[in-house]
Symmetry: C2
Subunit: 360 residues, 2 copies
């Protein structure tokens, strides 16, 4: 078993190289990550946990960015403020990939899909002669690249559909608790951004309801979002495939179909917010142009509004990419943030720590 | 204005007659409502409000039905119980039409659609010569019947689409606060079931999160569900039409399109629950076979489960209908409730009061 497992890791690596170079990353987009180095004093766990209280956001450098968050929260929660917002309307939405956790060298959900193709190959002997599966299993870069976007979609459907929702949830739970990031060699839930966990906690402490609004798969996130982010399944919005209700031997099941239901990205994000939440958020947090319309919709509402973009500019502690990246591309957002009053976070400048394991 | 308004009421009545006889009600389905008569002692408002506390469900007759609700809640909330359910998993779902409020002589949303056609006819001179609008405006029963289901869909699309989501919300708010039920001559929010308001409150008091899961339009319910039921927009699931994100003169809007997005009825209810809530409820409340799969899905889960069907058997205080009704048809549910362990509420036997205004 161990050797099989190693072999899988090996072919994953080859595949990642393909995806990184040919499909996912542009020529100029990514820079290699280095093992993070703790900078400055590390707050203890208790202090981090108290992030909502008197000393909020301990992983944030004291400066204009942190002050912007704190000032907004003060404005909308002070009953004496003309900008006071009733608790029920304090809705905050967060993109996931690149905003709450990393998204390199590829969206983690794509790494999950590849792991699943490898893990289930024995049940699909036909994949041996069928692209793009053959390419995944053989680590054949050229063949995979030739399969293009359509091939990627096939990978996703094959790994995400054709089972019940209960079965899929189990698969995701197993993966999230055992899989490790190919470069950082850490479980994926450790690759969340500590300063953003503090923002989530700080907002909830101040009566906000926090939602994820992600281009990623809704059922890929729900099984672990509560434990990792404190966000329950019913507050996770994302892309989805269709499901069908069936009764099998008297037992009802929901079967996942290989058919796109909803893409929660770009113009889809305000649509998803409207569909699932049914009211306009007063705060939105994103990192890429895929979040542009979500921030636009949120901050165009009347009354106090808050928009924030996480700028990946720290090649040393995480990854640095923006205008020319094909993953997490941030171009229009950088150009228009100032005039729209959106706050741009410099991960390098504004965050004392990036990951939860730093300095602990 | 007054006369115009009266004329509208007049043609609504004609139309209702058509819909009731030809489209919505079957020959045997409905019996006329009589003005409700208070039976027994009326609890005061304070007592009603205290429904979650020591004396829960005051509008329910002490008996097996009420005891079933109380016993279930005790089982899942007592930390010493083997059936204890953590608070985050205490999800309860409620159908709306016929379960939380009346649905006669037609679904209230259809009455809304008809009111809207009449109210906006001046902006649509083409409707004068176009079916089924001409039929609505002229109260022409035969022509409307001839338009059939397709005609009804056209009425709904014409009254629900072609505007922004903000505009539609405003229209619904205005209607719900001014329109009156054609037979009972009361505002629609008064036609909610007092015993069910108490159940909602009782469950929330015991740590449940309450959701609406309705075949009705999600955006028709959200503007008033919080005030009337204490259920916030993000906990309302329903049928929907598609919306499109547009930026008009720099201002983002969501435009309602005349295209069905999702039908949250029958097999659609478990699908909607899965899509919007993302976990299986432990309690489900419905009244018709449109809720069958929702109850089936809910009660097939492991651990303690609760399913309840409101049976409209009180022709004196509300309406009596079940197996042969085309609105709120309840046939399979009645046949299978006992073997599935679902509780059937007899409105006549189990409810001291039906509407909030009784006995107050």
């Amino acid at each position: 078993m161990y050797e099989v497992s190693r072999a899988r890791v090996g072919s994953s690596w080859l595949l990642l190289a393909v995806l990184s170079v040919l499909t996912v990353l542009s020529a100029c987009g990514g820079s290699a990550v280095e093992q993070p180095a703790a900078e400055g004093e590390a707050p203890g766990r208790a202090e981090t946990m108290a992030a909502g209280g008197a000393q909020p956001l301990p992983s944030w450098v004291d400066g204009a960015t942190k002050q912007a968050i704190v000032a907004f929260v003060a404005r909308v929660t002070d009953p004496a403020s003309p900008d006071f917002v009733p608790q029920a309307e304090r809705i905050a939405v967060f993109d996931n990939d690149g905003t709450l956790w990393s998204e390199r060298p590829a969206y983690f959900q794509l790494l999950f899909a590849i792991d699943r193709i490898e893990a289930t190959a024995a049940e699909h002997p036909e994949w041996e002669d069928q692209q793009p599966f053959k390419a995944v299993l053989e680590g054949d870069m050229e063949a995979l690249a030739a399969a293009g976007e359509h091939g990627l979609l096939e990978l996703v459907m094959a790994s995400h559909a054709g089972m019940t929702t209960v079965e899929f949830e189990e698969v995701v739970r197993e993966w999230i608790s055992t899989a490790r990031h190919p470069e950082l060699d850490r479980p994926y839930p450790e690759l969340v951004f500590r300063p953003m966990l503090e923002v989530l906690e700080y907002l909830r402490f101040n009566g906000f309801k926090t939602f994820i609004v992600s281009g990623g798969g809704i059922e890929f996130m729900r099984p672990w979002a509560e434990e990792v982010y404190g966000i329950p399944p019913e507050q996770v919005v994302g892309s989805s495939i269709k499901v069908e209700y069936q009764v099998r031997d008297g037992e009802p099941v929901l079967v996942r179909l290989p058919e796109i239901d909803f893409i929660d990205d770009k113009e889809g994000k305000p649509v998803g917010i409207h569909k699932f939440i049914g009211r306009r958020p007063i705060a939105a947090f994103g990192n890429s142009d895929g979040d542009f319309q979500m921030l636009e919709w949120t901050t165009a509402g009347s009354g106090p509004r808050f928009g924030m973009i996480v700028h990946h500019d720290d090649a040393k502690r995480e990854w640095a990419y923006d205008r020319k990246s094909s993953i997490g591309k941030l171009h229009r957002g950088l150009d228009e943030a100032a005039k729209r009053g959106w706050v741009v976070v410099s991960m390098k400048r504004d965050w004392k720590f990036i990951f939860p394991f730093e300095g602990i």
